[in-house]
Each structure stands twice: as C-alpha cells, then as structure tokens.
Symmetry: D2
Subunit: 94 residues, 4 copies
C-alpha cells in the first residue's frame, strides 16, 4: 500500500466523503419534493463548504508528506508546479 498524505486520517476522510455523498442525495430528494429554491441552494452551499474542508485537509497532508518527501528526492520543482496547479483549481473552483 502506497503511503499518502491522507493515509493517517483515511478513515476520517472516507467518513466525510460518505457524509457529503449523503448530503448530495438529500439535495436530490429536496428537488424531487419540489422544495423551495433557496432551501436547495442553502444545502448546496453546505456541501461546498464541506468539500472545501476535505480539499484543504488533503492539500495539508500532501504538503507535509508528499512535497516534503519530494524535496528529499530532488523533485521540488515538479512537486511545486503540481501543488500550485491544484491550488489554482481550488481557488477557481474547477
């Protein structure tokens, strides 16, 4: 098994993702039940906030583990480019 930045907190990460999956299913039900648009939007914002938390946690683990390891293997430039591309996507949201 390859050790990743999130390996130590894998269970927590999987639990968060399952919760987010459940929230999205909940939004589907709200639409099926013709719930008010604003209430549906409120739930979408909640999912966005939860995804941001997961993303920041993954990034944190990646910086502390993979980027640090890459530095020892002389791969700093490559790792920095990869990291910055990920940060750019998160800031632009896609």
């Amino acid at each position: 098994m390859t050790t990743r930045g999130y390996t130590a907190s894998k269970d927590d990460l999987q639990a968060r993702l399952r919760r987010i999956e459940g929230q999205v299913r909940g939004i589907e039900r709200m639409v099926t039940d013709d719930r008010y648009c604003i209430d549906v939007l409120t739930q979408i914002s909640a999912v966005q906030a939860a995804l941001d938390k997961v993303a920041l946690g993954l990034l944190d683990g990646h910086v502390r583990h993979c980027v640090a390891e890459g530095a020892h293997e002389g791969k700093s430039e490559e790792m920095s480019t990869e990291l910055m591309a990920a940060v750019g996507r998160l800031m632009r949201r896609g």
Copy 2:
C-alpha cells in the same frame, strides 16, 4: 405540486445531481485505493465546478420565476433579502 424556478428543468437538474453523487462516490473509491492526493484534489475541483453550475442554474430560475412573482405580490424587499443571502453564501462557499 408547487411550481418552482427549476420545475421546467427538473429532470435535467436531477440528472446533474445524480452525476455529482456518482462523482463523490468515485472520490471515495480513489481514497480507498490510496490514489495520489493531487488526483483526488482534481476530482474534488470538478465536483465543485459541477455544483457551482447547478447552483447558478437554480439561482437563475429563482430570479426569473420566484423573484418576479414575488414582485407582483408586493414581496420584493423580502425576496431581495433572501436572494442576496443565498448569493453571499455561494460566494463565501458555505
């Protein structure tokens, strides 16, 4: 059945949400399979972009349908406050 801003495009909205749910499940599997952090982050950014599209579509329908209707019922102020709160949450992502 109460008519909502998204009623006319309900099937499309539900299909998008099911796809997003599937994407989140896919991210869970990536974590189970110890996939590289950056690859997982890339998928999270994709889900956020898809959610933003759904949110903007909902907001658009709400503005054209519910806010317009509210104006005829003399509820412009109340609808504007509600709309702006939703826009604020989407901009702050949660």
Copy 3:
C-alpha cells in the same frame, strides 16, 4: 443625475473604495520593502474580502432598485440575464 441602486449610500461606497485603493498601495510598499510573502498574501486576502463586501452591497442595491424598476418596465428577462452574469463573474472571481 441618474439614480442607481447605490446612490443612497454613495458616500459610504466611495469611502470603502478609497480605503481599498490605500490597501493596494500599502501592498506595493510591502513589496518595495521586501516584506515576507505570507504577510503580503494576508493583505491581499483582506483586499479580496473588502472587495467582496463592496460587490455584495452593489448587487443588493441593484436587485432592490434597478431589477425591481425593470420589472415594472417589463424588462425582467433582460435584467435577470444581466444579474446572473454578474453573479457568475463574482463566483468565478473574474
């Protein structure tokens, strides 16, 4: 003078914009003084937050004043399209 959604709070809006201009000039000075990157980034985030507040205030005034007026003039569709384009740009930050 054309009345805008921000006309009633024009002085406050101009004061905020002048403050933001001053903050940007302050960031220029930090760079001239070779200040630590993270400190410069912290100030940029502060300017972003201030700009978001100004933008939400403008949008709020526009929804309550211009969009409402447009509805009476039968221009709801056009105003909604314009409003949603502005919200989309703010969410994508550009």
Copy 4:
C-alpha cells in the same frame, strides 16, 4: 536586502499592483459618475481576477523559494502550517 520568493520578479509584481491600484481608482470614478451598477461590478470582478493572479504568483514563489529553503533548515512543519493558512484565506477570500 532579504531575498524573497518574488524578488526575481519584483518589478513585474510592482507593475501589476500599480495597475490594480489604478483599476480601483477607475472604479471610484465610475461611482462618482453614477455609472450603471452592473458595469461597476464587472470592473470589481476584473480587479479580483488580477489580485488572484498576483496571489498565485506570490504563493508559487513562496513554495519554490521559502518553503524549499525552510525544508533545508528543518522548518518544514512550521512552513507547511503557514502556507496552508494562506491558502485557506485565499480560498475563503479573506
């Protein structure tokens, strides 16, 4: 003079910041001239996009220079914490 991640591109960074300062002043003039809210909002989104570019450039230089240097001085943990706080602020916009 302390060498920073942006030192090599300092002139470019200062030119960008001066342009952004000018853009903000331009927005002030638009408000003074009672320009249409949506046009003012469009310029604010342009300033935010320009600031995001400056921020990503600063972060990139910081990761490649300061974080890499910190790793050699055994300060990886501290630098990672600082970096992630900056990324969090940029994602939350303030």
